[in-house]
Each structure stands twice: as structure tokens, then as C-alpha cells.
């Protein structure tokens, strides 16, 4: 059965039902329980839905190959809806009640900030893809590992592309009015100023505002040569793109991965409005001029064919979900134990582990595992099976 959004929701539902009744078995045959804190429903659920397809696929792949040293992998999903309160409850449930061996997630920064300290208290091995820098601190949270870029890495990539490749020296930085939008826009503007660029306009726009003309006009009047976007609101981004076209302004949009979201394609008035838009992307999931992904992921695409729907999600989400499950399995396999310390110790010594999303390296003093050089900009409108073309200007 091809894995689709709806089908998966039900599968997740079914698989999470019997968990409360699980009885402790002998450690050797006991399944490896991975808690998966997923914002599967609610307003910012798109990434978790993508991750989840990877998670389910990876667990099935491992189990059909006989499991890890004879132990099955069991995914225990809790839908947090992106609500920190639900995430806190679910985390404690996983630690104290379900007694999972490792936790993957949560997927949104707000929830992640709330549960990180709780997982640290429970010494729970944790991998997550959240971008907020302060989430990773090997001193305070020796159990937490990140397998996606941090905000700083995203920021660096956007700034690097804007200044060095798009050659814009005057920028307008725009975020939405959510917590993430406000913070990211502030950090980004500060970064641009530090690097000598001029932030000629900075604004946080209410994502529900129906008309973006005033802000766009002011950005243009201020002399902006590039618009930097920090928002997950596809509605707001699409309105800005339409306004740009109406104004006949050919300024580039550079920024958050949501710029490349498929939803935007349906919201813009004509396809051309999506040109000159560059979203954060990843080398591993970007195709080159000949339309080819890096070989490892070309092969992954073949394997996912017909099993995982990539049409309405991003390959990097799926790949990241696969990597997360594999990293736990790998640690148990290598150390021969699913005890907390064993898993954490294994991750701490991980060097250039070849995942699908990236090549991860952790050490006891650095839990940011994603290589900076793999963060690239991609052409937002070039989406194909959840992958993107590299933005112009990469050699």
C-alpha cells in the first residue's frame, strides 16, 4: 500500500493503541521502542507528516530484514499537535510509562524547548530536527542530538547566498508574527548587519493580513535588493509573491524552506510568480543540471517508489525520518544494548555516518551532527518528487 497522509494517520493510530498493555519482556527479545513525538495534525503538521513516512518505512524495512540483532523495532507515536503541553505529557509518558529506549522528535521548536529539559532529566537518548540553537548544549543536555541544521546554519546559508551569489547588499528581512517568525527575523537581520549588509526594511507581518502591498512598497522604496523571508505561512508567502508580480518588481526572495512548499504552487496567480525564489535546501536532496540526485539518494528514490508518496511532501523530511530510526537501530546494534548510556555513548562517537539526508558526525562536545556545507539554496519552484534543483550560482 502506498503510504499517504491519510493512510498513515490511521496506521499510526492503530499501532499506538496496544502500547499501554505492553509487558516487559527479556531485554534480548524485547523490541527496540522508539518514541516518536510528531505534530501530525494542527497548523504546522507538514514536516511531521513527511518525517513519519520515513519513520514508518524505515521501521518496516528493518523489521522485514529480521530486526536489529533479532529485536523488532517498534515505533510509538504520539500526536502532539505542536502544542508544548501535549508534548510534555507525551514525553513523560514515553519515559515513565512506556519506557521507550530513545525518542525521535518533537518536530517544532516550541515543543522541543519545553521537553528538552525533561528528557535530559530522564537521561533519554533524543534525536530531533528542530532548528533553535539553544536546544543543543552537550553540557546541559548530554542526551540530545540534532540531525538537521541549526538556525545559525540556515541563517549562514541564506546570508551567504544573498551576499555572495545574489550579490544583494541591501536587504529587507520579513517574518510573520509567530514566535518563530519574530525570532528568526531578528536573528537574521542582526547577522546581515554584522556582515556589513544594510537591512533597509524589517517587518513582522500578520500572516492573515489580506494585502501585502504596503510592506512590499516600503521594502522597494527603501531600496531592497533581496527579500529575506522567515515564515512557515504559505498563505502569506504566496500573497507576497503575487504582490511582487503585480508591482512588476523582480527582486529575489530568499529564505525559509517553506518558500518551496507545494502549497504555494496552488496559491500563486500564475506560475511565473514563483520564479526567482530561493529556499533553503539540502545537497543530498537537490538534483543537478542533469536532473540527478546524489547516487545514494537516487537509489533511495528507487526503493521508495510505489511505497512512499513523495508528491506532497519533501524528500528531506522522509530521508531525515529514515535516518533517525536507523541511527537508533545502529546504536543498539553497535553497542549490543538498548540502555540509555549505551545509545548516547555510541552517538557521541559517531563519525561521518552516511545517512540519506546527510553525513552525521557527533562528538561528546558537539551534538550538531549536520554538516554545514550540505545546506544549500534551491530553486523554490523546481520541486519534483520532493526534491529541488540547486539555485543558480552553485558551481
Amino acid at each position: 500500500m502506498p503510504i499517504t497522509r491519510r493512510g498513515l494517520g490511521l496506521a499510526g493510530l492503530a499501532s499506538s493503541l496496544p502500547m499501554g498493555l505492553a509487558t516487559p519482556a527479556l531485554a534480548q527479545n524485547e523490541p527496540i521502542k522508539i518514541g516518536w513525538l510528531a505534530a501530525m495534525t494542527g497548523p504546522s503538521s507538514a514536516p511531521a507528516i513527511g518525517f513519519n513516512r520515513g519513520v514508518v518505512w524505515a521501521a518496516e524495512a528493518l523489521n522485514s530484514a529480521g530486526g536489529v540483532k533479532g529485536r523488532k523495532v517498534e515505533i510509538i507515536t504520539r500526536d502532539t499537535q505542536g502544542d508544548p503541553t501535549k508534548a510534555v505529557n507525551a514525553t513523560q509518558e514515553m519515559i515513565s510509562q512506556l519506557k521507550v529506549h530513545a525518542i525521535w522528535g518533537p518536530t517544532n521548536s516550541g515543543e522541543s524547548l519545553a521537553v528538552t529539559a525533561i528528557m535530559a532529566r530522564g537521561k533519554m537518548p533524543n534525536i530531533h530536527p528542530c532548528v533553535v540553537d539553544s536546544l543543543i548544549d552537550p553540557q546541559k543536555y548530554p542526551n540530545a542530538f540534532r540531525i538537521a541544521p541549526s538556525n545559525t546554519q540556515w541563517d549562514d546559508a541564506v546570508r551567504g547566498y544573498t551576499l555572495n551569489i545574489a550579490k544583494a547588499k541591501k536587504v529587507a528581512v520579513i517574518g510573520d508574527t509567530t514566535g518563530y517568525g519574530v525570532t528568526a527575523a531578528n536573528a537574521s537581520a542582526a547577522g546581515f548587519q554584522k556582515d556589513g549588509a544594510e537591512v533597509v526594511y524589517k517587518a513582522n507581518i500578520d500572516a492573515t493580513q489580506p494585502d501585502m502591498t504596503p510592506d512590499m512598497l516600503r521594502a522597494r522604496n527603501a531600496g531592497a535588493q533581496a527579500i529575506i523571508i522567515w515564515s512557515v505561512s504559505t498563505g502569506m508567502i504566496a500573497r507576497m509573491l503575487n504582490t511582487r508580480a503585480t508591482m512588476g518588481w523582480d527582486v529575489p526572495f530568499i529564505g525559509h524552506p517553506s518558500l518551496a512548499s507545494g502549497e504555494i504552487g496552488t496559491l500563486i496567480e500564475k506560475p511565473a510568480n514563483w520564479d526567482k525564489v530561493y529556499a533553503i535546501g539540502y545537497k543530498s536532496c537537490s538534483y543537478d543540471a542533469s536532473g540527478k540526485l546524489p547516487p545514494r539518494n537516487e537509489e533511495l528514490l528507487q526503493r521508495l517508489q510505489g511505497k512512499v508518496n513523495l508528491q506532497d511532501t519533501l524528500l528531506w523530511w522522509v530521508a531525515c525520518g529514515i535516518d533517525a530510526v536507523n541511527l537508533v537501530a545502529k546504536a543498539v546494534e553497535a553497542s549490543g544494548s538498548s540502555r540509555n548510556e549505551a545509545i548516547i555513548a555510541n552517538w557521541n562517537s559517531l563519525q561521518r555516518y552516511p545517512g540519506y539526508f546527510g553525513e552525521y558526525s557527533f562528538s561528546a562536545s558537539d551534538h550538531n551532527g549536520y554538516p554545514v556545507s550540505d545546506v544549500v539554496m534551491s530553486a523554490a519552484s523546481s520541486g519534483k518528487n520532493g526534491t529541488f534543483a540547486l539555485a543558480p550560482g552553485y558551481g
Binding site: 510573520d176 500578520d206 492573515t208 494585502d211 504596503p214 516600503r218 502549497e263
Partner: protein, 285 residues
Amino acid sequence: MLASILASGLAVGAVYALIGITYNTMYLTSRVMSFTAGQLGMLGGVFGSLFVLRLGLPVLPGLLATLLACALVGVVTEVVAVRPVLKSLDQHLYVLSTLAVALLIQHATALEWSTEPQPFPRLLGLGAGIWDEKYWLPVAACIATIIGLEYLYRRTLVGRAFVAIAEDNFAARALGLPERNLRIASYALAGAVGALAGFAGGQLLLAFFANGPLLNFYGFIPVALGGLGNNRGAVIGGFLLGLFQQAANFMVGGIFSSVAVFTLFIIVLLIRPQGMFGAPAARRV
């Protein structure tokens, strides 16, 4: 710049005014302020997108289907959340029952439609820039609604019956007016007005489940400012609110514009609880 503030201010103002009229239409026959008013506006956008874009109906049948669907939602609201609590109006149970129905509508939409904003079709393909149809369609819809309602209330028998019920419920019933049927009709009418707001403003607001609470709040402000049940007050209040909001968006930015709108709203209400054009509360003893 000023032109674009005016265009978008009047456009969203017209949508707010229409939602205000939706509140008023329900209030007139039932003395109930319903939390579903904003949801009807949201559904206008969602049904419009569903019928015209997903199901491929032409614009006019799509509009009709949208109006009908929302009129039905209005009738269901009346049956489920209003009629059962009318007996004890002074206990304000209607606040709770209509809030519950509004939440049911919103969450059902989120689950069954989408939690992301969905596209709304271009209807006529007329105009560009500040004369784009997305700006003047809501204003045109608002004017048409006002004219239509004036005609209904002044020239038709049904409309006069509405007015009679609104002025004195008991007397109207004593005269043999079918109070219950008129109330159902007014809820259907309110549904259609709300749907028209969402449909005409669809290109601005998109087909988005979260528009419900937003329209609920911003559509209520014109009612509060203009006086309960006063449609002309609601229209003036709606346009003023739209212009003020867009100007505030422009002057102080997205975060503080909602603070500015809310603060002004509270101050006006505390000074004149009955609204700018409303009459003081009736006697109590």
C-alpha cells in the same frame, strides 16, 4: 501607498461589515449573538473554493451552491444551538451553545478540508492593481447586500414580518406571525450573507479554516461600534475598522496593529457600551 491602504482597507472593511450584518440578521429575530457568524464567512471561502475550484462548477452556480450550503449551516445552527436555549435567554446559554457549534464547524473544516490556506478562484478576471476585483468585489457585495436587505425589510411582506418580530416578539406572535419559521428564515438569510462575505472576499482571505475566529472578532467590532441590530451602523463601523486596521498595519506593523485595534475597541465600548449609533439598554424592572 495611500491608494493601496484605501483599496485593501475598504475591501476587508466590506467583509467585516457583511459579517456584522450576519450577526445582526441572526440577532434581530432571536436576540442571540452567535459565535457562528465568523465561521459562516470562513465557510463562504471554503465552499467557494470547493465548488468552483475542486468540483469545477462555473462561478454563478458555484456562488449559488455556496450560499445554499451556508444557509443550511445557518438553519442547522438555529435548530441545534439557538432554539433549545431561547426559553432561558437571560441565562446566556446561547453564548455557550453557539460557541460550541462554531468550534465544531472550525475543527471539522480543519480536519476535513486543510489546515493550510487553500487557493480561491479568480471569479471575473476583471481589473488590475488597486482596481483588482479582489478589492472591489467585497465592496460591491456589501452594497448589494445593503440594498437587498433594505428592499426586503421595507417592501416585502416577509421583510416587514422580520421587522415586526425584531421590534416586539410577543406582539408579533400575538398577531399570528409564524415566529419560528421567520427565525429559521432569518438564520438561512444570515448564512447566505456570511457566505457572500467569504465568497466575495475569498481572493483576499483564501479558503482557510483559521479565518473563522478572525472574522468572528473583526466582524463583531462593527456590530459593537454600530449598535446591536443596526445594519447601517455595522457598515459604517466595518469600513472604519478596515481602514483603521490597514492603516495601523502600515504604520505600526503586524504585531501591534491587532493591539491597536483591540485597544480602540475597548475604549470606545467602555465609553459608549451601546455603540456609536445604538440606543441605551431597555429598562429592566
